[in-house]
């Protein structure tokens, strides 16, 4: 029987082949987002996929024979061609589309791309949102990528006020967030209320919640890829105004004359600018102390040979400028922001392989100044420069991917005031990584095996090498419409954020692994079943287990004479299951995500009064046991689009105080304690905590509705939109305040968003 099992795939492998289709436009530049369908003799669709940024589609595991290939894209005429696929070989086909007035909706391409992912990806659990989809997820003011991905299974948000998210038991700093392949360290404005990504500039947001292959490194919980949209063709303007900000994005094709002599066949660029305006509008009436600005640049260029160059730039600044008031007289200037720049070159080999080279730099800085007290220096910074190379090539029946990367990182955090240095840490480190992964598709199987090696060389500390094997298998059933899958892997991470996740708003302050902080190693296994019912409905159930060794938390009892005990070193784990059901085609597309999670963290308990401290295991703030997202997106008549989201989450953990006591300040001058002089001076009281995170807030639920209507004008489109968050005004608990010093003692609290209507307007021409 074992022999049969071994022989069967070999026989199957011998009967199938592959085809690579490359689609270009009339100028021979690669065309992305083209629906490419492989048709059998009878005209039935055997496979379909959307072309990637290089205009490429690959179908593997196709029984040998003659097939028709049909390529369609909005704004272009449909083209059909034929191809013969031979067993054990990869055929190549080039198709050129011509511009035409009619085409097909983008939603069809999205559905094809998702179907292709199901058919061609063994391990990764990926969810994606296009610009169109994320704009239909109701949000505060304007569409927000990081808010929108919360509707995906396995993703938990802990607060209406923070767009930070947790994936499958991982901490928020364990999500790798990439803008066109370049990491972004603090992708939030206003302490997390919304993200830095201007939705008009986003083509696609893709979240890998688990099982990601060896090419991905650097974080252990998830990878969120945000791809910029070059827009076009021609000159385009997207502008909008919302409750949060005003924005404009201008795109333009580079004139042919400018390209002569550069080796480029075509090029296009886009620039967006966004700024909040409340400080300007309200300025005549009262000081509104906060504003943000961000600027994003994106360019793409293609060579005659099909090479693609992508340039990305982002810079953003938040400024909180408190002038001083009677109740808080201190003048404060607090600024923070990201700077990202990157370039990616991608080209294809004749035999169907690809080569991609990427270089970039990312920086996050924050600093607080007190203009009246210049002895104060609060600042934090992290830098990352990277160069990486990725290649794929067919090798017989397999596709081999390999690559290497070199990253240089550094951080510097300092807190000093009044001559006292409370924190001063910083060091550089280098990361060298290489990987190889192999993908095979014998008969009804998809097999992926790879290994990644990360060598971390922190300055002033011992080097670390982490080998990360990753294996995934998928077995197709029921004629390829259903599949069971398994993925096992090890992941490593060499950075940590010190942001206190218990706070609803906050800024990430980063440290690198080294003498002060360990690196994180996470072993993960996930297994599930997924499949399609008909062409439209996709469903998946997946269970997972993850360990996290080397997580950190701020040490509230650190020794100032020990520079290496600022952080507690701990462990964590997460296990659970995610269910996902969605309709991928049609005018009404519902989506249901149900996530069940158990997460724990284990650290020294410095609040128990024991020396040395004992270990404590508790549920972290993001341990939402059950999270349900029901989303309906509908394209209604008269260009009206409707988005509905209902979110239910079981209560998040919190630590209940057992009691409060008067806090008596000690005076060295007096040699004793000072008696409090005011009856209700909360600064003069302290609380005694009960077991950590042993209590739960009430369940969270909220209904959001968004409505967009597009008016088509001769010059372009006008789209007013209205979002209403928390339609039935549920008082979801943000905090409880236990007021034991009141008579009788009470529990007060703050809720998250009440019913919150917002509106905006978009213009496109």
């Amino acid at each position: 029987m074992v022999a049969c099992c071994l022989i069967a795939p070999a026989q199957a492998r011998g009967q199938t082949g592959s085809v690579t289709v490359r689609v270009t436009g009339p100028d021979e530049a690669p065309l992305p987002a083209v629906l490419v369908e492989l048709l059998a003799d009878g005209g039935g669709v055997v496979r379909a996929d959307g072309s990637d940024a290089a205009g490429r589609v690959r179908f593997a595991g196709i029984p040998s024979g003659r097939y028709a290939v049909r390529a369609q894209r909005l704004g272009y005429g449909t083209v059909e061609d034929t191809v013969r696929i031979e067993a054990g070989r990869t055929a190549a086909l080039a198709i050129t589309l011509r511009e035409a007035a009619v085409g097909l909706p983008g939603v069809i391409v999205e559905a094809a791309r998702r179907r292709a992912r199901f058919e061609e990806t063994a391990g990764a659990t990926a969810g994606e949102l296009t610009q169109r989809e994320l704009k239909l997820v109701p949000a505060v003011g304007e569409a927000d990528v990081l808010r929108a991905i919360e509707i995906l299974p396995g993703v938990v948000s802990t607060s209406d006020f923070s767009s930070a998210f947790n994936v499958r038991g991982g901490s928020a700093d364990q999500n790798l967030i990439l803008l066109d392949g370049i990491p972004v360290y603090n992708p939030f404005h206003l302490g997390g209320l919304f993200s830095i990504f201007n939705a008009d500039m986003v083509a696609l947001a893709e979240l890998h919640a688990g099982g990601f292959p060896a090419e991905h490194g650097g974080r252990v919980a998830s990878v969120l890829r945000v791809e910029s949209d070059a827009g076009g063709p021609g000159t385009t303007v997207d502008a909008g105004v919302s409750l949060l900000a005003a924005r404009v994005a201008v795109g333009r094709d580079v004139p042919d004359g400018w390209l002569s002599g550069t080796g480029l066949r075509s090029a296009r660029g886009r620039v967006s600018l966004r700024r909040s305006y409340f400080d300007q509008v309200l300025g005549p009436f009262f000081d509104f102390p906060y504003h943000f600005t961000d600027l994003q640049v994106h360019g793409e260029a293609w060579t005659a040979a099909g090479g693609r160059l992508v340039l990305t730039g982002y810079t953003g600044r938040d400024v909180l400028d408190l002038a001083g008031t009677d109740s808080f007289p201190l003048q404060v200037r607090w600024g923070w922001g990201n700077d990202v720049v990157g370039a990616t070159w991608a080209s294809q080999f004749r035999g169907g392989g690809t080569l991609q080279v990427r270089a970039g730099h990312s920086r996050f800085t924050t600093g607080i100044r007190f203009p009246e007290f210049r002895d104060t220096d609060f600042r934090a910074r992290i830098n990352q420069s990277l160069v990486r190379l990725d290649a794929t090539f067919p090798a017989g029946a397999a596709v081999v991917g390999t690559g290497a990367a070199v990253d240089r990182l550094s951080y510097a955090n300092r807190a000093e005031t009044g001559g006292a240095v409370f924190a001063d840490a910083g060091a550089p480190g280098s990361l060298a990584a290489a990987y190889v992964q192999v993908r095979m598709d014998p008969a009804d199987w998809l097999l992926e095996a790879g290994i990644r090696g990360d060598a971390w060389l922190p300055h002033g500390s011992d080097a670390v090498f982490v080998a990360q094997p990753r294996v995934a298998a998928k077995r197709f059933l029921a004629g390829g419409t259903l599949a069971v899958k398994l993925a096992v892997g090890r992941y490593a991470q060499f950075v940590h954020s010190l942001r206190d996740e218990d706070l609803p708003l906050g800024i990430d302050v980063w440290v690198l692994a080294g003498a002060r902080a360990p690196h994180v190693v996470s072993d993960q296994v996930q297994a599930g079943i997924e499949g399609y019912v008909g062409a439209s409905w996709f469903g998946a159930v997946e269970a997972y287990y993850r360990s996290f060794d080397g997580v950190v938390a701020t040490n509230a009892a650190d020794d100032p004479d020990d520079p290496d005990d600022d952080l507690l070193r701990g462990r964590g784990r997460g296990y659970g299951a995610d269910f996902h059901l969605r309709r991928e085609r049609g005018r009404i597309r519902p989506m249901l995500a149900v996530s069940w999670l158990r997460a724990t963290r284990e650290f020294d308990d410095v609040f128990a009064g024991l020396d040395p401290p004992q270990r404590l295991t508790y549920a972290p703030i993001f341990d939402r046991r059950l999270d349900v997202d029901l989303v309906v997106q509908a394209m209604l008549p008269r260009d009206v689009e409707l988005g509905i989201r209902w979110n239910l989450g079981t209560g998040l953990p919190y630590t209940r105080p057992l009691g409060a006591h008067v806090y008596y300040e000690y005076s060295s001058i007096d040699g004793g304690w000072r008696a409090p002089s005011q009856e209700s001076d909360s600064a003069r009281s302290a609380i005694v905590l009960g077991p950590r995170n042993a209590e739960r807030y009430p369940p969270y639920h909220r209904l959001d509705v968004g409505l967009r209507r597009t008016y088509r004008k001769r010059w372009g489109t006008l789209t007013p939109h209205v979002d209403v968050l928390n339609v039935y005004n549920r008082r979801n608990v943000l905090f409880y305040f236990y007021q034991y010093d009141e008579t009788p003692p009470t529990r007060a609290g703050l809720s998250m968003f009440p019913i919150l209507p917002t509106a905006g307007l978009e213009v496109r021409f």
């Binding site: 006020f161 206003l190 302490g191 102390p289 909180l320 808080f328 007289p329 201190l330 607080i368 007290f373 009044g418 001559g419 006292a420 409370f422 218990d502 609803p504 708003l505 509230a556 009892a557 020794d559 100032p560 004479d561 609040f607 009064g609 105080p657 009691g659 409060a660 806090y663 008596y664 000690y666 005076s667 060295s668 001058i669 007096d670 004793g672 304690w673 000072r674 008696a675 409090p676 009856e679 600064a683 009281s685 302290a686 609380i687 905590l689 008082r731 943000l734 905090f735 409880y736 305040f737 236990y738 034991y740 010093d741 008579t743 009788p744 529990r747 703050l750 809720s751 998250m752 919150l756």
Partner: protein
């Protein structure tokens, strides 16, 4: 600590963002909170009177005072135990006992040669109540140190500052500088500074972190935690270059152990209030800390004092 200032700024920022959107929840009346014992002991090296302050978590009943506790401190390595007896509140609390609804505590005092605390020695506290409740913990007293500048009270020209300096105390977690300035408000008013505060003594704190940081600028680095205080903000700005004429500043520099620092600086975030990091374990919470204190004075008016170095 500066974390407090940053947190306050962060909360202000948060309220800017959340103010229009967050809503208060209805108050719910709670049952009486747990009755927990709170013990605060700060051993002072070189003193032959040591105090322990015992109180309870707050409650509607106010909490009964604790007169029947057994409070004992033992020096590691032997020696007779230091026994504490309930005594007058005025030996623990300054300037007066708290007024209701703050619950009164009980001052326990140890006197005599057995109460002498020596620098560099570890001491262990045990508190036992007749109902069986018990709290224990220990402190390592910082090592001996001496003031270098000024070693004795001195006269400083008005409008100028100076760096205080001292020798290193082994095992000190921080050095807490404390000053009490008499007639400062009146002197500032006389100098034309508008101050909305009665002319009562002004107490300010400064900090040097780690055993190796043995300097502190006077008066500029004092008042570190009061810069956002509406009453003190203008005073701190006015005295940054130096004190006005006619002011006497009593100064204490205290080398503090880790327990003391952990208790006063506050720990994890909790929306209900400040969380102290205790050094006592058992049926309650509290601190056993230790200080080595050195005192001096700076005067901008007393011509009889020698000039400050």
């Amino acid at each position: 600590m500066p974390g407090r200032i940053v947190v306050r700024i962060a909360l202000l920022a948060a309220m800017t963002a959340l103010g229009p959107t967050a809503c208060e929840l209805s108050d719910i009346t709670l049952a009486e909170p747990a009755d927990l014992l709170v013990v605060e002991v700060v051993l002072k090296a070189g003193d032959t009177i040591q105090t322990a302050f015992l109180h309870r978590t707050v409650s509607a009943a106010g909490g009964a005072r604790i007169f029947d506790a057994t409070v004992t401190v033992r020096e590691d390595g032997g020696g007779p135990p230091m026994s504490f007896e309930a005594d007058a509140d005025s030996l623990c609390l300054f300037p007066a006992p708290p007024t209701p609804p703050f619950p009164a505590g009980t001052c326990y005092v140890a006197r005599g040669r057995t109460a002498l605390v020596r620098p560099g020695i570890r001491y262990t506290l045990e508190v036992a109540l007749p109902d069986g409740r018990r709290l224990t913990g220990s402190t390592q007293v910082p090592g001996e140190f001496a003031l270098v500048r000024p070693a004795a009270p001195c006269r400083l020209p008005a409008g100028t500052g100076m760096d205080l300096a001292w020798t290193r105390a082994a095992g000190a977690s921080v050095y807490i500088g404390e000053t009490r300035m008499d007639h400062l408000v009146a002197a500032l008013r006389a100098a034309g500074v508008e101050i909305e505060r009665a002319d009562t003594p002004v107490d300010l704190l400064g900090l040097a972190i780690g055993s190796a940081d043995t300097t502190m600028a006077f008066p500029g680095e004092f008042g570190l935690f009061d810069r956002a205080d509406p009453e003190l903000h203008a005073i701190l700005l006015a005295i940054r270059p130096g004190l006005p004429p006619g002011v006497r500043a009593d100064i204490a520099i205290a080398a503090a152990d880790r327990n003391y620092v952990n208790w006063v600086r506050g720990g994890a975030f909790n929306p209900s209030g400040t969380v102290r990091v205790p050094s006592l374990h058992g049926d309650g919470t509290g601190v056993i800390g230790s200080l080595v204190i050195r005192r001096t004075a700076i005067d901008t008016g007393d011509a009889d004092l020698p000039s400050c170095p």
